[in-house]
Symmetry: C2
Subunit: 265 residues, 2 copies
């Protein structure tokens, strides 16, 4: 491709190992970059899948250790899910938004509206060193407790090692109200804007723009998600080079519509 300021390159690192509790993601990324022969430059951004951040931060819960409350048992019956899983979903949430058989949509304590409070079963390695133990565990992963701070820590490690300020984002995949299929969204940010306000900027014909706010970090997240793959393919760390728009110390909460502006809760 011809290169220039209007080109974005998105690369999935190919040497990221399985992540375990306590792993230092910043240094694992630095090793992965070296293994791929990739040198970070000013303007590069690192994007991580939520799962590896949750694993590194020990956000694994063994379902066999969870005792569901009566409320969870009742709701589990309505939505036809494991009562222990529903118990964890309720603990992670501030509000139940919609229920239907097979569907439990909540407001996560972090503000995101999503199914099952972002908890999932998939790609959770069984953790224990004892194979026999492993078979008796049913591990699930919660979202990181404070994803913006998780990003900040990784950004600090990368900056210290390289001398370049490298913004970091954590993404997850969510469903949408009216569209099929999941898409990547940003759940943690350090060093990038969440939304970009375009209000008042004239368009090509000089008319002030109607559509005023760009969901910048979510578009970055969707682009990264495309290259992470799902299932077997698992490439949980992405490097982007050539992202447009300036930098700013944004927050994932910028992307969350305030309760009072919500027409659909």
């Amino acid at each position: 491709m011809p290169t220039g300021s209007t080109q974005l390159s998105i690369l999935a690192l190919s040497h990221i190992p399985m992540i375990n509790r306590g792993d230092d993601l910043g240094n694992i990324i630095l090793d992965g970059l070296i293994a791929d022969g990739f040198q970070l430059e000013a303007g590069d951004v690192i994007i991580l899948a939520q799962k590896i951040v949750s694993k590194a931060e020990g956000r694994v819960v063994d379902l066999t250790t969870v005792t569901p409350s009566p409320k969870a048992v009742e709701l589990a019956h309505t939505v036809d899910k494991d009562p222990r899983l529903v118990e964890l979903i309720l603990r992670e949430s501030s509000e139940v938004v919609r229920t239907r058989k097979g569907v439990l949509i909540v407001a996560h304590k972090l503000g995101f509206i999503l199914a099952n409070a972002g908890i999932d079963h998939s790609n959770v390695d069984q953790g224990g060193k004892d194979k026999e133990d492993m078979n008796q565990e049913e591990n699930i992963l919660l979202l990181p407790e404070d994803p913006d701070t998780s990003c900040q820590k990784i950004r600090d490690t990368l900056t210290t090692a390289t001398g370049i300020d490298i913004p970091v984002m954590i993404i997850d995949s969510i469903g949408r109200a009216w569209r099929n299929g999941t898409v990547g969204i940003s759940i943690g940010i350090s060093g990038l804007p969440g939304v970009i306000d375009l209000r008042g900027e004239p368009d090509l014909a000089g008319t002030p723009l109607q559509t005023s706010e760009l969901g910048y970090a979510d578009e970055v997240a969707a682009a990264a998600s495309l290259m992470m793959g799902q299932g077997n393919e698992g490439c949980p760390v992405i490097v982007m080079r050539g992202l447009p728009y300036g930098r700013r110390n944004g927050h994932a909460s910028e992307l969350i519509r305030p309760r009072e502006m919500d027409l659909f809760r």
Copy 2:
């Protein structure tokens, strides 16, 4: 960047002229590629902004020619919008989903749930050759009538000219129920899947994936939107090289959740 199968490159063409009714977008793209010194290869995909497709297809309406119905006048009062604009929104829609001062969310006849039936004022050139006429027009743009077919036609032109089958997508920017900022979504597809079904594929730990369907075309759209810019920047044609997943003759309608599965209408 090191190149390989895990890299996606997204390039905004820099020589696309202002588009007018009747323009042949396929040939304009071919000229733009030449002007940028870019040669299409197998695997490349072209993504267009909805606005230029609507313009080329003459989907411009002069608001001064529109007489609002009593229903439109009443609704315009509720949502505090121009009654002529509301009249056009209603003509383009099958159902009004939510109203509030400044907000009119509908189901477009094509199935998409979006604000103002996807109609906007911005970046509509005034069309007429007579400058004096232009000042009396208030032009708006409707969505293309059949975006999948629009894509197919452009794809045919590109394939005929290059001998390579080049998938084509049309995207628009929409708001979301619970998140701030607009993101690109796919409203027309030819030669790519809309959604990708991952059900049953084992993940890294061998557990069948819970999150079963990937909103593939919408992730591609968001990535493209990032490089199109908004407002002044206007780069309405994007080339992607290195998109993952196989090809299929998908439809934008795959991404629309069926009415009976909709928990939020």
